[in-house]
């Protein structure tokens, strides 16, 4: 299989911080808002370099979303930063009315998504945010896999006119994508070509999918691995071309099965090309405290789970 090298593990949120700083230097219309989590979101460098374009809103996420909507009137491109839970579920109606329905060019940037924020537990581990955001008409939904990709996505979304939900995480994870990549919204990345099964992963589980691919190769199974960083709009063409070849699918995400990437893929297959699909996702439960690795293992989101799902999908062909 294609080999990918970890260039040194980093957190995806630092990729956001680095991308935001670079944007600040190149695009004077970019402004940033944070709800008392500047350090956690790695927005400190932007704040220090561009204090006039940074707004500390305090612990008031609803107000932050409304202010962001207003800032677009007159041409600013606001980036909001807080945890994924407080970026979506807490402020759903504000996003729905003032941003999505109003067609405002707001970039909702969310750290600490999924289970892997770890010890803080289920109050903070939102596993429904992809579903909430993808249901909103006109919303673009992106979940990046590593530092480099998060940085590239942060920069790229400034060029996209319209609301975007950019989801990333807390822990240090392998950094393996090209540091000079061009991030193309809505264009999935085939990381490894294979013929027996298509593994479609997003976010932190992309690296787990590559680990699973290696293990499957040892077992004589050829897996195609696709990084679907953009959940909406979904790259239907790339997914369908792959399934045409392999005939079965595994989807892997750090999210509820209900409303996640897997459901988007399943819906596509039902409409265009029915094929067996196995879901690696959280199965209708809340999370809990633990280390990221412990949680991924307990909730069946690690590479072993992806391997088992791949074998199950192949068996159903």
């Amino acid at each position: 299989m294609t080999e990918y090298t970890n260039q040194g593990s980093k957190d995806t949120r630092s990729g956001f911080g680095a991308g935001l700083l670079e944007l600040g230097q190149t695009n004077p219309n970019v402004v940033a808002l944070c709800a008392d989590l500047t350090g956690s979101l790695k927005m400190g460098d932007f704040k220090d370099e561009f204090p006039d374009r940074f707004y500390q809103v305090g612990i008031a996420e609803a107000n932050m979303m409304g202010i962001a909507a207003g800032l677009t009137i007159g041409g600013k491109i606001p980036y909001t930063g807080t945890f994924a839970n407080f970026s979506t579920g807490r402020v759903y109606d504000q996003i729905r009315q003032s941003i999505a329905y109003s067609g405002k060019n707001v970039k909702i940037c969310a750290s600490h998504s999924g289970l892997t924020l770890g010890e803080d537990g289920a109050t903070h581990q939102i596993l429904e945010d992809i579903g909430l955001m993808k249901m909103l008409p006109g919303m673009t939904v992106i979940n990046t896999c590593d530092f480099n990709q998060t940085k590239a996505a942060t920069i790229a979304i400034a060029q996209h006119e319209g609301p975007v939900y950019l989801r990333f995480g807390r822990p240090k994870v392998p950094n393996f994508t090209d540091p000079d990549q061009t991030f193309e919204i809505g264009k999935a990345v085939v990381l490894n070509e294979g013929t027996d099964v298509t593994i479609i992963a997003t976010g932190h589980l992309v690296w787990k999918a590559l680990e699973a691919c290696r293990e499957l190769e040892d077992r004589g199974i050829s897996a195609e691995v696709i990084n679907v960083h953009t959940i909406k709009p979904l790259d239907e063409e790339t997914i369908l071309a792959s399934v045409e070849k392999t005939g079965c699918v595994v989807t892997a995400e750090e999210h509820q099965q209900n409303g996640g990437l897997g459901e988007s893929v399943g819906g596509l297959l039902v409409r265009k090309k029915p094929a067996p699909q196995q879901f690696v996702a959280v199965n209708d439960s809340f999370g809990e405290s633990g280390t990221p690795d412990q949680l991924l293992e307990k909730y069946g989101l690690n590479s072993e789970s992806i391997v088992a799902a791949a074998e199950a999908a192949i068996a159903r062909k």
């Binding site: 609803a62 202010i67 207003g70 009137i73």
Partner: protein, 289 residues
């Protein structure tokens, strides 16, 4: 104030006549589809007419960014009839379009939206409590752009029960958003009854003052000269480090005797007889749509 009376009050008669036509539009629009919100619309007619026909510097050849203009955000979006009438009568779109209010394929949705591209609307509203935050954002952008325009809002008093209002109320003074004039339509009524019965608001002005706003009052928001005087005074208070808040007492349903002073006409349409009675009380000054 001498100059104020000379320059602005000379227009008083025109504005009062416009208000009468706007009230006719409101009751006719709501009657035509047997739905909508006449009470709050009638109560805020003087305020809206004063803003769009005298106070604000605005361009009916609408563009979203509104560079160099004053902006208005209607936070209590359910009083869309008065908003639509005033936008139309001040040139944003043809008055005949008022006849499409709340009908299928209309730009005049039940609650205001940018989604159908209606000129004059800059954000959707209807779900309460969000407009002050949006207005703050627009005011911050004006500051970043060195744009001298002022941002105006209108909120219901019942709307102040929404928590987001107080998040915004805390933000604006702390960030010196002093190009912002928010007005509270203090009519003392909401859907389930009087605000006193449902959830007393206490001293609204004192609350905002405690948050750091420059607070002023319009004692009779249905008296055109008082509204003009109040809004003119409010403009002079901008640019001094604090956001400005106006507590404006109004009578819900003002101008139509049987609708006045009660929450009963919050979201009820008049029947044919009631419409006729209402129109008898309101002179047709600019031609019905």
């Amino acid at each position: 104030m001498q100059r104020f009376y000379q320059e602005i009050m000379s227009n008083l008669e025109n504005l009062t006549q416009t208000a009468s036509q706007v009230r006719r539009d409101i009751v006719r629009m709501v009657h035509a589809v047997q739905s909508g919100h006449p009470g709050g619309s009638l109560g805020c007619t003087e305020f809206m007419v004063a803003l769009y026909f005298e106070i604000m510097n605005h361009n009916p050849d609408f563009n979203m960014d509104g560079e160099g203009e004053d902006l208005f955000f209607l936070s209590n979006g359910h009083i869309s009839p008065v908003f639509y009438s005033v936008l139309s009568r001040s040139g944003y779109f043809d008055k005949e379009e008022l006849g499409t209010f709340r009908k299928l394929d209309s730009r005049l949705q039940g609650h205001p939206t940018t989604h159908e591209g209606l000129p004059g609307v800059r954000v959707a509203s209807g779900s309460l409590g969000q407009g002050m935050s949006v207005a703050i954002g627009a005011a911050l952008t004006k500051k970043l752009n060195n744009d001298p325009g002022i941002v105006f809002t209108l909120h219901g008093d019942g709307e102040l029960q929404e928590g987001q209002i107080w998040e915004a109320a805390m933000f604006a003074p702390n960030h010196h958003v002093d190009n912002l004039i928010c007005t509270i339509d203090a009519n003392g009524q909401q859907i389930d009854g009087s605000t006193e019965e449902v959830m007393p608001l206490g001293d609204i002005g004192a609350k905002f003052e405690a948050f750091g706003w420059d607070v002023m009052h319009i004692e009779d928001g249905n008296n055109m000269s008082q509204v003009l005087e109040g809004l003119t005074e409010a403009k002079t208070r901008t640019g001094h480090g604090k956001p400005v808040l106006i507590v404006m007492r109004t009578s819900m349903g003002s101008g139509v005797d049987f609708m006045e002073g009660t929450h009963e006409w919050h979201g009820i349409a008049p029947n044919d007889e009631q419409l006729a009675s209402a129109l008898e009380q309101l002179e047709e000054t600019l031609g019905d749509y």
